[in-house]
């Protein structure tokens, strides 16, 4: 602890020494960027060859409104799209479901059927952009909708590029947007990986996410360890399906949080690459170099944003984004200052994108490859991250693997404990959050926030009812029956889902057909 009573450990509780020297790195071999185990980055040329992709996550209200926002972002220099769906879409239910009330279009765009997806990408050539879709339980359905829109645009699936989050394990662990039990959930993930390996080869079929684990209150080491453990669980599941490691490994991608503890975050990103490379080469015997490389997207930490003095969030986000860049991220989302209240306004969204552009073009940080490599402190902290992650892998193994550990609430308890510890440190003012527990102001002027018109819900509900009325009913129910039958068997479900999507079955109907076979999941209560 410092003389003024403030913790000197990292935000995750890793104790730090006042000074690091060469003594902290005895007998270290020289490492180069672009070489195994890629601690210093996966590209030999760093960002000199190619900058990170600036990918701002957005979506709200209706498909038409979001479509306008996408065109605006693309015109302003954004280089990839990233779709945010609303809660009913994420939970696999239609806008007119009773439990959708009050939720439609609030956290993202409402997508009920292929008709909405067509409107979402209207006038945006899918063969020329890449799209990231943040969705999990119903991921396969939304991917099929994307493929179907491309078909209508005359774009072949084989030329589509983008990323599907599709990471169900972290839903069980942290974000809790699960629907089916773990086993059928994993089957759907493997189905989509297997299908894409053959049909949509440029698609990143899964984005194995630590972001939500961190946002749920975990430490940096927990984020690192649980995410990589999830990654290995997916690898194991694909191998069990009979796939070959080098056929799918390079299409696995990762997604991390960039929190406010600057050096700890950089160390986390570096350790992630090193651990993954070793496991892929040594444990899984991957032969191709591209299978060893951990590629990741980063989002600055939503949880670090404050409602108090929200303009401070611009500074926080800039620092977090810098950590992501120095950690070697492949793509980046910077949060808007008002995201703590609601979806960002146009102005706030632009500011967030400009922050990245400022880093890329003004500061010069992208000009030297892994500029922090060899720093006594950074390298020692990277080693410590690796050590803590390996200790967690051991514990997870002892429980019997990721899914048994989910079922007994292991991850959930570790995260809840970490979140509670941090909260207590704030209460005791052993850690300060500027504007929240210190340096506060009494009178906060209100800031403009984006409001969703409450009429949207009834309009979107009417829209999905219209889709249900207008489609070819026989074709639709045949497709759903086919899916039901296939779900009870062992076929890859992707072609069946694609048929249902093409027949304008709604997302809720497709989910329901699978729920009839798979059932739903209730989690172990861990408080």
């Amino acid at each position: 602890m410092r003389d003024d009573g403030i913790e000197t450990s990292t935000i995750s509780g890793i104790p730090l020494r006042p000074l690091y020297t060469s003594q902290d790195l005895p007998g270290r071999a020289e490492e180069y960027p672009g070489q195994f185990p890629y601690t210093r980055g996966i590209h030999p040329s760093g960002y000199r060859g190619r900058l990170w992709t600036m990918r701002q996550f957005s979506g709200f209200a209706t498909a038409e409104e979001t479509n306008r926002r996408y065109k605006y972002l693309l015109a302003n220099g954004q280089t990839g799209l990233s779709v945010a769906f609303d809660m009913p879409t994420l939970m696999g239910q239609d806008s007119d479901a009773p439990t959708s009330r009050g939720e439609v279009g609030h956290c993202g765009v409402a997508i009920d059927s292929l008709a909405d997806m067509e409107a979402l990408f209207d006038g945006i050539p899918l063969g020329e952009i890449t799209t990231s879709m943040t969705i999990n339980s119903p991921a396969a359905i939304l991917l099929c909708m994307y493929i179907a829109v491309a078909e209508k645009q005359g774009v072949q699936a084989s030329s589509l590029g983008g990323t599907l989050q599709n990471d169900i394990l972290k839903e069980f662990i942290a974000q809790k947007e699960f629907i089916f039990p773990p086993a059928p959930s994993m089957r759907l993930v493997v189905d989509s990986i297997e299908y894409c390996a053959a049909e949509v080869p440029k698609w990143n079929t899964i984005s194995i996410s630590g972001y939500h684990i961190r946002e749920a209150g975990s430490t940096a080491a927990q984020e690192l360890a649980f995410t990589l453990a999830d990654g290995m669980a997916y690898v194991d599941a694909c191998l069990e399906r009979g796939m070959h490691i080098d056929d799918f490994a390079s299409r696995l991608s990762f997604f991390f949080d960039a929190h406010i503890d600057f050096f700890e975050e950089i160390a986390k990103f570096r350790a992630a690459r090193r651990i993954w490379a070793r496991w892929m080469r040594e444990r899984y015997g991957a032969q191709q170099e591209r299978s060893w490389k951990l590629r990741f997207h980063t989002q600055t930490a939503g949880v670090s944003l404050t409602a108090q003095q929200p303009e401070l969030n611009i500074a926080r986000t800039a620092i977090e984004a810098l950590a992501a860049v120095l950690g070697g991220t492949q793509s980046l989302h910077t949060n808007a200052m008002d995201e703590v209240f609601a979806l960002p306004t146009d102005k706030a969204a632009r500011l967030a994108l400009r922050t990245q552009q400022l880093l890329a073009y003004e500061t010069g940080v992208a000009n030297t490859i892994d500029p922090l490599g060899g720093s006594y402190f950074i390298e020692a902290l990277t080693d410590e991250m690796e050590r803590q992650a390996e200790a967690y892998f051991k514990r997870i193994d002892e429980i019997g693997g990721v899914i048994p550990a989910i079922e007994v609430g292991f991850f959930q308890r570790e995260i809840a404990d970490a979140a509670f510890r941090y909260q207590q440190e704030l209460e005791q003012k052993r850690r300060l959050v500027v504007g929240v527990n210190e340096f506060t102001v009494d009178d906060e002027p209100p800031i403009d926030i984006l409001r969703i018109d409450p009429r949207l819900e009834s309009e979107q509900s009417e829209r999905v009812r219209q889709v249900r009325r207008k489609r070819d009913q026989a074709e639709c129910s045949n497709a759903l029956n086919g899916l039901r039958k296939a779900a009870a068997g062992t076929d890859n479900l992707m072609p069946y889902i694609l048929d249902a999507v093409r027949a304008y079955a709604t997302e809720g109907e497709i989910m329901h057909a699978m729920i009839e076979v798979f059932g739903t999941y209730t989690e172990t209560a861990v408080v």
């Binding site: 039990p181 209730t522 989690e523 172990t524 209560a525 408080v527």
Partner: protein, 297 residues
């Protein structure tokens, strides 16, 4: 429903007005069937209870679940999370779920539980399920109240050995090996069987039922076993014996509770008593005096 919920609160509080309420209800009281479910954390006990509730609802039986969790010994607070597993019965008016903090009062839990069961019977519930975490005193108290005690084990927690240490085997009328879809369940069943052969109890050999509660597998057989045990109690006359014993136990507990209240009151109100207690340094003489006084009152 609120009247019932309020009455259970009075019972939990040990409010004197419960006595009148009970007297009023006694005439219409039907005794519900009472099954206790106990097991270590992580055995899937709540899921199993949820599955049993679903089965009973199919059979048109109304069900109340009393789920007990320990309170913090330091603050008295608690987080009671058993309802989470029973969401699907949330809006079913024939299912009543109540979470109870064990609170660690001497005898308080079983006393409160017995009275709550009578209330539930009076309000028309056919079956009462008592759910407790098998890590302390509370499951033994509950076993003393339930007609049939179901002990839940799983293959993967290494808990079978611990159960024996804790003496929980002795209270089981039915064993469940839940999560029987994972490796090792046959080993647990075999171990259990070996131990049970050594220890038969009052003409009833506790059956071992394998279940996968998440899939409703084995739940029908489990309930059959509970009913078989219930029939066994009836035909052997043990049910009557138990009922009488329980009434005697309960009376002793109530007497103890009343005596405790009076003793506290006397020590507070009569400084002479308290003074003498300090002189004596041991409680016996003063305790007897207090009992004598209240007998004469």
């Amino acid at each position: 429903m609120r009247a019932l919920a309020r009455a259970i609160t009075l019972v939990e509080r040990r409010d004197p007005s419960v006595r009148d309420l009970e007297a009023a209800l006694r005439t219409q009281a039907r005794a519900p069937g009472v099954a206790g479910f106990t097991g270590a954390p992580g055995t899937g006990k709540s899921t199993l209870v949820d599955a049993v509730v679903a089965l009973l609802r199919q059979k048109q039986r109304s069900v109340a679940v009393l789920a007990t969790d320990p309170n913090s010994p330091f603050t008295g607070g608690a987080i009671l999370g058993d309802r989470i597993r029973m969401q699907r019965h949330a809006l079913d008016t024939k299912v009543f779920i109540r979470s109870m903090g064990a609170r660690g009062h001497l005898g308080g839990l079983s006393l409160a539980t017995r009275e709550a069961i009578r209330l539930l019977g009076a309000f028309g519930f056919d079956e009462v399920i008592l759910e407790t975490v098998g890590v302390g005193q509370s499951e033994l108290e509950v076993a003393a109240v339930a007609d049939t005690t179901v002990v839940v084990l799983t293959p993967n927690l290494g808990d079978s050995v611990q159960m024996i240490k804790a003496g929980i085997l002795e209270i089981a009328d039915v064993f469940v090996v839940n999560k029987a879809d994972i490796d090792g369940h046959l080993r647990v069943i075999a171990e259990l069987r070996a131990m049970l052969n050594l220890a038969p109890r009052q003409g009833w050999k506790a059956p071992i039922i394998a279940t996968v509660a998440t899939r409703q597998d084995g739940v029908e057989q489990l309930w059959e076993a509970v009913l078989a045990h219930r029939r066994h109690l009836e035909t052997t006359g043990r049910a009557k014996e138990l009922a009488e014993k329980r009434l005697r136990d309960e009376t002793a507990e109530v007497a103890a509770e009343l005596a405790r209240q009076r003793a506290r009151q006397a020590l507070e109100e009569d400084p002479r008593l308290a003074e003498r207690l300090l002189e004596d340094g041991t409680p016996y003489r003063t305790a007897e005096e207090i009992l004598k006084r209240s007998a004469n009152r």
